[in-house]
Symmetry: C2
Subunit: 296 residues, 2 copies
């Protein structure tokens, strides 16, 4: 029996893959993110989501990672503490009521000094090591909470989280800047210029935000300009704080296509080399790596 | 006839004072902020608010400033451009339908380079000059949009706006930090320490925010600590960008008591001198100064 199920259950989405002989033969992607689910309902909802893959009398192994292992998730999988080796990460095997599957949830990773945590990103990093076992450098996962992770040969050495995506969302949605950020398009030149303004003169960040609104009131340069500036300022803040992770380093970007391309455009002249990877693929490969190295 | 009405109509509140012989003989304070009012309804709502002061056949003068003069306000009063003299600020005299009062709305102030705007704060600054006509230094108005204003002898030379209060609100309300910011109390030592962390190492701001949440997950130091840190980090950003306004300067703080005391506590060892003033009093004195110098 060489079928198994890989699951990435995050705050805002659910992804599962049915794997046979190392190939994905089916997948289920839904918006049933954890944040909408009560702790007591996880098993019922999980079964409803993947029921078509469950066969009575044929026990199938489910390997999962992500926020479902958080305290407010399905079952808590205690953090592994960095530095740590991804080939040797802890997992829990909670008992489920259904007789058709077993469940293993892999730990997230915490860092004591400086305090930081991740859940799910470590699986994507492991996914990169599946094909690049001896890589040494930094891996960046841009997004709601961007992570910069220093890695060496499947070890996570240290990492840092930036609330870049979440800050963009709340600033563009709930502050006075909402009147000026009505576009989703980016002017790449304005974007890179804005990143560099903050990188060169970090003291500007405090006033740059309101200036964006004032500039719109006085000069009305159009929403794309202001959208590009806000994005650039916030990425500038992130790059400022993560310089030790990318300056003169080989870096890997893992994320959705749009974000990875944007980060790549800004970083291409600042780093030694860049590889670009897509999140979904890395999650699946990460769970494969965990299965090969840890479970089997 | 020496009665007149002073009005400060802002985004989230309405304040009016009935003045006779330079003394306030009555006042009206309400939550009828502009943001709840459609442009066409301003006059009706205004009359409803101050009706008890209006007497048929006795025309009374209303002098107003604040966001009611914005484009989305009652009538637009075009910006005065800084640098400018507060004793010589422009106003508009729009025609109202009611026969019992006349209306004058004073301009806000804009700055072309670097782009910035204010509406209402200039009146509070004028209020300070009412009693301190030859002051030279910087005036800070902490709040949702904190302003730092370089002044000299009733001239506004330049100014800078920081979204400190608004950032605190949206970050503590809508991001993952909301789980750690449940207190309204401040630990002053933690607060000052957090201000200095950002002032000394601005590159920390990007990761300091998420670290606050991670520290709570790992070390659970209690909500007062995290509330104090977030407040401190954001004030640190403001002070970083406003250093030219306060370093080795005489400064004046105008705001509500709590905020003025907090800013004063942080700034006392960093500036030459500090005066503390209360917003409400400064608005009224500012309109008195405008009346004395500009209208009469």
């Amino acid at each position: 029996m060489n079928k198994w199920i890989a699951v990435d259950w995050g705050t805002s989405s659910f992804r599962a893959y049915l794997v046979q002989n190392n190939q994905v033969i089916d997948n289920i992607i839904s918006k049933d993110g954890m944040k909408f689910i009560k702790q007591i309902d996880f098993e019922t909802i999980f079964i409803k989501l993947i029921e078509k893959w469950l066969i009575k009398g044929q026990l199938i192994q489910v390997l999962a990672s992500g926020m479902l292992g958080a305290r407010q998730g399905w079952f808590e999988a205690p953090y592994e503490i960095a530095p740590c080796n991804l080939k040797n990460i802890k997992f829990i095997s909670p008992i489920v009521n259904d007789q058709r599957f077993t469940l293993k949830i892999f730990s997230g990773i915490s860092q004591i000094s400086e305090p930081d945590v991740m859940r799910g990103e470590e699986t994507q990093v492991a996914g990169f090591f599946y094909d690049n076992p001896s890589f040494k450098g930094s891996i960046c996962l841009p997004g709601t909470h961007s992570k910069w992770i220093k890695v060496d040969n499947s070890y996570i050495e240290k990492f840092k989280t930036f609330m870049t995506g979440e800050l963009f969302e709340v600033i563009s949605k709930y502050t006075v800047l909402k009147h000026s950020i009505l576009s989703e398009d980016i002017d790449k030149n304005e974007f890179v210029k804005s990143v560099d303004i903050i990188l060169k003169n970090p003291e500007n960040i405090g006033s740059a935000l309101f200036q964006l609104r004032a500039d719109d009131l006085i000069n009305s340069q159009g929403n794309i300009i202001y959208q590009s500036r806000l994005s650039g300022y916030l990425l500038g803040l992130e790059l400022l704080g993560s310089a030790e992770f990318w300056e003169n380093k080989n870096i890997v970007l893992i994320g959705n296509k749009v974000l990875v391309e944007l980060y790549s455009f800004v970083l291409k002249n600042k780093v030694t080399s860049i590889k670009e990877c897509i999140s979904d693929e890395m999650v699946l490969k990460g769970l494969k790596l965990f299965k090969d190295k840890i479970i089997n």
